[in-house]
Symmetry: C2
Amino acid sequence: MNSNEALKISREVAIEIERGISKISPDDLSSEVGMGKDGTPTKKVDKVAEDAALSVLKDYDVTVVSEEAGVIGNGDIHVALDPIDGTFNSAKNIPFYAVSLCFSKSNRIGDTFLGYVKNLANGVEYWANETAYRDGKKIRVSDTSDFNCNAIVYYPERKFGFRRIRIMGSAALEICLVADGTFDCFIDYRGDDGLLRVYDVSAAIHIASCAGAVVTDTEGGSVNEKHIDMSERFRLVVANPKLHPLLLEALK
Amino acid sequence: MNSNEALKISREVAIEIERGISKISPDDLSSEVGMGKDGTPTKKVDKVAEDAALSVLKDYDVTVVSEEAGVIGNGDIHVALDPIDGTFNSAKNIPFYAVSLCFSKSNRIGDTFLGYVKNLANGVEYWANETAYRDGKKIRVSDTSDFNCNAIVYYPERKFGFRRIRIMGSAALEICLVADGTFDCFIDYRGDDGLLRVYDVSAAIHIASCAGAVVTDTEGGSVNEKHIDMSERFRLVVANPKLHPLLLEALK
């Protein structure tokens, strides 16, 4: 499988999910329908979206790691799948939630060859093979090194001095908004081991990296060796090469 | 003018704004086209939206208070107008920005007889005469008194202990999301005198109040005596009657 094929599959997955969730009545989106392999209750919108995604991916020789279903298949190519990143938003009709797919040649996220994130509410599409695109146009991170900038921070419980802080509820999309320069950085330093999962962020990490971002954990360590599995956790700092070291310093 | 007429006018305004901004090319949305009466640069999307709104409102005997144009007209009925609340989002294709209109029988926001907020990106419409509605259905605030809840906080630079924190970038819409129970509270305690303006929040304050919320400044004072003018500033706490006093306590 090459990146073109992976992109084609990703788009099929997105369309199947859109089709699936469009049939759910608004009042039913957040009803709970079981317990996910991530240890949290599964909402109907998650279940329907995941079933739709897996109905496409089952035809390929891949190992899928997904929020609700866990690990499926045993192909060499690993796919981190989040059918709906931003479930709360999707269930509440807040138009900021996405499907996220990351295709890697191994179980390391450093071997990713395609990252794909699509806002299912308005159709904006991000993807990267070695170059990063939004709706087919090349994108690039900002180049500011000034803290008087636009930041996504989970959670800003100390004073960093950013100009504008946002917390929108879909890490995948928010990291893509750093990739395209809308925001200048993404920081998530919650939890001792991190709260982000591989299916939330690995596709967006690849997209941001291809757009010129530096992506590390909150200690400055590479995330390339992180695995596409259910147990991996992330604390992340994503920013352009000038701003990134200043953020690490501020987090000390 | 009664609330039905004000609602009809609000909907006309929304449609004119949608028509106006749909003609702007995406790259041109955030180009600066002058200086607003609020003392900040006017972006093209703001100017086009305000011109569209005023083209409707000029036919009525009202006093309009608006972000870019300042005070226009001298009717007894005062209209606080924000043609685009969430300009940054609208300019960046983040689908979370709204038109906001507040109609009052005087220059006090306590005399409001219609509040109207519409998300221009997905068409979700909030309004209240004496009852609050979302897309025509009655809405009501949540009833939790637990801090393990969903909060909008500008900015959470201290640890409140909320379960989920969001900062979406349109105070008008965010306060409406408290009115309909999606979020449990809205807090903006930035600035000694507050950063929110009357056109940002007065319509949503009325909607939230009609949905059962308590709305005060951060000291617990009423906002009813606040004026519909360019100089008024707000620090706000919006929540259901059980949670609200606990938030005031936490802010001390």
